[in-house]
Structure formats: structure tokens, C-alpha cells
């Protein structure tokens, strides 16, 4: 019994260790994506350092320079960047 529990614990740890980098990569990609979007709209940001996901294609982005933006896709299919 003990052996099974150990094996299970190791597998959980291993899965977590392997999955963590992929989550980090996804978050980094999202930050870069939003950084590009904000820059394409001509807004000052520098670099997005934190992202809060509201829903699909709807984010709150915090920039390195302190600015915060609401980045979302409108009903017309346009990407909107609102300064908060």
C-alpha cells in the first residue's frame, strides 16, 4: 500500500514539474501578445508584466511602466485597448 502511495505521489510531482513550464510559456506568450497589441494601438506600455483573464479574448494587462489596459475583442470583431 505504501509503495502505491509513493508511486502515485512521485507521478503527481513529476506531472506538476513538467506541466509548470508549459503554463509559464503560455503566460509569457500571452504577455508578449498583449504587449504587441498595445504597441500596435500606439499606447505606452513597455512590456506587459501581469495579465488577468476576464473571459475569452478579454484581458486586463498591467504594464512595466505602471499603465493598465483593458484589452478585448468587441462585438464587431475589433480589438479595443482601453486605458484604465
Amino acid at each position: 500500500m505504501n509503495r502505491r502511495i509513493r508511486t502515485f505521489a512521485y507521478s503527481v510531482l513529476l506531472t506538476g514539474a513538467l506541466a509548470a513550464p508549459s503554463f509559464a510559456q503560455d503566460e509569457d506568450a500571452l504577455k508578449k501578445d498583449l504587449t504587441s497589441v498595445i504597441a500596435l494601438h500606439g499606447q505606452p506600455c513597455g512590456e506587459v508584466v501581469a495579465v488577468k483573464v476576464q473571459k475569452e479574448n478579454d484581458y486586463f494587462a498591467s504594464c512595466k511602466d505602471g499603465n493598465r489596459y483593458h484589452v478585448y475583442e468587441s462585438e464587431k470583431g475589433r480589438v479595443v485597448v482601453d486605458k484604465q
Binding site: 501578445d33 504587441s36 500596435l40 484589452v71 480589438v79
Partner: protein, 247 residues
Amino acid sequence: MRVLVVVLSMMIGAAGCARKAPETPQPTAATADASPPAATAPAKPSTAPPSTVANNPEEEGAKPPQVTTAKPAEPASPSTPAKPSASTPTAEPPAPATPAKPAPSTATAKPAPTKPATPAPTTKPATPPAQTAAKPTAPAPRATSPNPTLDLTALKEQLKSTKAIGLMTKLTLKNQVDDLLDGFRDLYAGKGKNTMPQLRQSYDMLMMKVLSLLQDKDQKLASDIVASREVIWGLLADPKKFAALDV
């Protein structure tokens, strides 16, 4: 616990091994550089001794062999064309050549004609690689230009599927492309606030945005877009072709 310790020790060991690899290429490069000077040095020892003594103290220990290869080239102009092709550091040979020659040039008239002769071969080998590097890029646009519509479709699909640009960025770029197309529609309909030069500027800016996003992660697509840049503009700037576009 033991298994965990073993796994950790293996990971640490593997990480340590990865750093040793870069050391091996360095010695191989050094040996490659050292061999050519040994072969060239015995070829012309007569003029080399005085000049090498002057230059060796200035440079590092690894470079003196390269200087010796350059100096045999100075006295005889025909020998120089062979060496610049082999040795990429062309900056060093001309530098010692000019200070070494002024002294003999005052004595005799022959060194004067050799001066222009030696720089000429050194510059000639330098320019042909540049021309050859430019030539491969030139044929690519020519090859793509005959069928612009196919390229446009392929580029559209490639842009949609590339992972170099995030989803929101793609949406933003699509919005800007749509705005640009609306600008052309307005212009051709006679409502235009924008003039053709202004639209060209917008087009160029949009291209730069796309290329700046692509150039690091998807160089092939970036080069494809650069190659078909003028073709796309040709489609946009011609009202008939623009009307025929399915956008």
C-alpha cells in the same frame, strides 16, 4: 526518497555535462588558423623578417601567424589575390601594407605602382562575396512575381497559421488591414479622405509592423512577405486589380 535523490543527482549530472561541449570547437578552430601560416611563411622569407618584427609586438600571440601570411603578399601583387579569399580578416593585411611601403616607395618608383595594385585585389575579393550574397535574394522576388495571386493566398494562410504572432495581435493586424482596404475603397469611390501617398505610407507602416513581429520567429514568412511586398502594392494601387480582389 532514494528514487528522488537519484533522479535529482542524474539531472544535476546531465546539466553539468551540457556545458562542456563548447570547449571542443575552440581548439579545432585554433589549429585550423595555425596551419595556413606555416605553409605560407617559407614561401617568401626575404621581405618578411623586417616587417614581422615590427608588427608582432603590436598584436596578440595568436595573430602573428596571420600577419606573416599577409606580408609575403605585399612584395608580389599576384600572390595577394589568392590569400584574401582564404582569410576573412582582410582588415589586417592592408593596414601593415601601407605603413611598410612608404619607406621603400621614396627610394624607388616601383613600389608606387604596387600600392594601388595591392589594395585593388584586396577590395575585389571583398566585393564579389557581397555581390554573390545579394544575387540569391534578387532571383527570389523574380520567381514569385509571375503568379501574385497564388502567393497572396499562400501568404494569407501562412499568416493565419504562424505561431510567431499571437491571436490578439493577429486580430489587431486584421483590423488594421481592413482599415487600409477601406481607405482604398473610399479613395476609388471618390470619398477618400486619404491620398494615394498617405495610403502608401500606411501600407508601409503596416508591413513594417508585420515584419517586425515575424522576423525573429518566422524568417521564411517574413522573407516571403518582403519578396511580394511590391506585388501586393501593385494589386492595391490599381483600381481594376483592387476591384478584382476577393477581400
